[in-house]
Amino acid sequence: MQDTLLEVKNLSVDYETDEATFYAVNDISFKLNEGETVGIVGETGAGKTTTALAIMRLLPARTGRITGGEILFKGEDLLKKPENEMRLVRGALISMIFQDPMTSLNPVMTVGKQIYESLEIHNLEHKSKQQLEERVDELLELVGIPARRKNEYPHQFSGGMKQRVVIAIALACEPKLLIADEPTTALDVTIQAQVLEMMHDLKKRFGTAMIMITHDLGVVAETCDNVAIMYAGELIETGRVEDIFEGTLHHPYTKGLFGSIPDLETSANRLHPIDGLMPDPADLPTGCRFHPRCSQCMEICKTTHPKRVSFNGHDIVCHLFTEGGAGK
């Protein structure tokens, strides 16, 4: 049995603006063991990035508010840490890779300096400047960029190369947990594969646990051990990757997600996308959040929020399923 690295318990996050309150993340829980990867999958606006920012405690200061729950990292609640201690966690123990490499790097600072900065902040062993510079070279080579390019500026790199630099920054202090927020969405398909492969290798090498946030089921299948499907701020189905990709029991939304992917093996004439749009997070539907779009909607779904039902570690939140037995 591996040790639990991160445990998110009943986390809820709101965004409050002058106009309305947006319920971005509602009462989610999941666990992540050391060295494992969990994929969080969902449509744009499902609350994936908000979850990641909440773990990093980087929510927009004025609007974002964590309204409940705990985030236990190595048994310690990150939400209770004062800001100056949290700062030592960021970058050193938990790192994050952002979605768009084009804007994630400071345009007026050399890439070498941006990596160096990360090392400098968490230089607990008081290494010399020389040693840190050597480490920068090493990191660049590690992500496949020649070390001589460290004095160049971000605009001199392509998108894929920039994302490599971002990864180098994130891995600089060999964190225990890496949160990757759609790390390949902004890249070309061929580059996507390269970057993913590199991340996978580095993760194995350092034994880093990872939260992979994506809307791309292909990426999940390739990289994750566990999967959590997110919809309107809730985790509606969680389980091992085999449960999700090969199991037969699924939340109707998960079925819908898979239905919208063209499959080469079964020749279908048309895709089966999910009708409708994600609900407005300021005005969530009653009962099950998915019921307005659900093809198997029942009366109870409109009024009562379904309970979590567990099948041997594979959890589904849907009225179609009851404890211990399959649904229809």
Binding site: D18, E43, D216, G218, S260, D263, P273, L277
Partner: protein, 308 residues
């Protein structure tokens, strides 16, 4: 395994039953409403709008508020008086009623600021739109000329033009107008360029929509926001510039009650009666402030991103 395809993002389905025109109108209407609603919530903008309304009312109804003659007729016996019930803002060195002069003064600098900006925008906007939309050699020629003119500081250019044309209301107006053309050409050109770079213009072009239609239906409505904000702000600075021209004797000539020339005339007497320079200055400052507040409010209302 089900998915090795890279793009598995669930497609969203929206049924579009509106025609394009209806959609544009609908968008425009609700956008205007939205901007107005946000603007009303911004206290500073409302204050600006109130001051502006008061000044506009003064301009229109100046004769009903106070007699023009009171601000022109000289009466040495009551010169340099402090504010009183009879002379709200006191009297100047010739015994003229300052309140009457200030109220009737709205018809000079304030109106000049607005007129100069409107004409300046029309000329500059046309040039900028032509440069931005057609590009190529037209763009290069127009912009080279404008860049050169812009190397001459605004006030200096206006002064040079006035010195060639001679002082006077109309000449100052022409000078201010011409001096702001290059700036507007630039602003509108870049607004047009930003908009023409957008995907929806590409989309309209690829559908074979005629150029004229694109410019009027898509480009201008979307560039207008930036222009309105810019214009509102620059009315404020133009009022100050117009008053400044009169202050140095290049603008409207005495005895016309122009705020700038009132300051310049009153300078010698301010040690005896500070009110003589206080009120005309306040009038200029409040006019400029009203427009700056409105411009700020408009900008925030059009671009709410900056607020949170």
């Amino acid at each position: 395994m089900n998915g090795n395809m890279k793009d598995a993002s669930p497609k969203k389905h929206v049924s579009l039953s509106l025609t394009e025109d209806e959609a544009v109108n609908f968008k425009k209407k609700s956008q205007l409403k939205e901007v107005w609603r946000r603007m009303r919530k911004n206290k500073m903008a409302v204050v600006g709008l109130c001051i502006f309304t008061v000044i506009v009312l003064c301009t229109i109804f100046a004769d009903l508020i106070v007699d023009y003659d009171k601000g022109i007729d000289q009466n040495i016996e009551i010169r340099l008086q402090s504010p009183s019930a009879e002379h709200w803002f006191g009297t100047d060195m010739y015994g003229r009623d300052m309140f009457a002069r200030i109220i009737h003064g709205t018809r000079y600098s304030f109106v000049m600021g607005i007129v100069a900006v409107i004409v300046g925008i029309t000329i500059g906007g046309t040039l900028g739109a032509v440069a931005g939309y057609y590009g190529g050699i037209v763009d290069t020629v127009i912009m080279r000329i404008m860049d050169t003119v812009m190397c001459i500081p605004f006030m200096l250019l206006s002064l040079t033009i006035v010195s060639a044309l001679g002082p006077g209301l109309v000449n100052v107006l022409i000078a201010l107008m011409l001096s702001m053309v290059p700036n507007y050409t630039r602003v509108i050109r870049s607004a047009i360029l930003t908009v023409t770079g957008m995907d929806y213009i590409e989309a309209a072009k690829s559908c074979g929509t005629p150029n004229r239609y694109i410019v009027f239906k898509h480009v201008l409505p979307n560039a207008i926001g930036t222009v309105i904000v810019q214009a509102t702000m620059s009315v404020g600075s133009t009022i100050i510039a117009a008053a400044g021209m009169s202050f140095i004797g290049m603008g409207i000539q005495p005895p016309a009650p122009e705020w700038g020339s009132m300051l310049s005339e009153g300078r010698e007497y301010m040690r005896y009666s500070p009110y003589i320079v206080l009120f005309p200055g306040l009038a200029i400052a409040f006019s400029a402030l009203a427009l700056n507040l409105m411009g700020d409010g408009l900008r925030d209302a059009l671009d709410p991103r900056l607020k949170d």
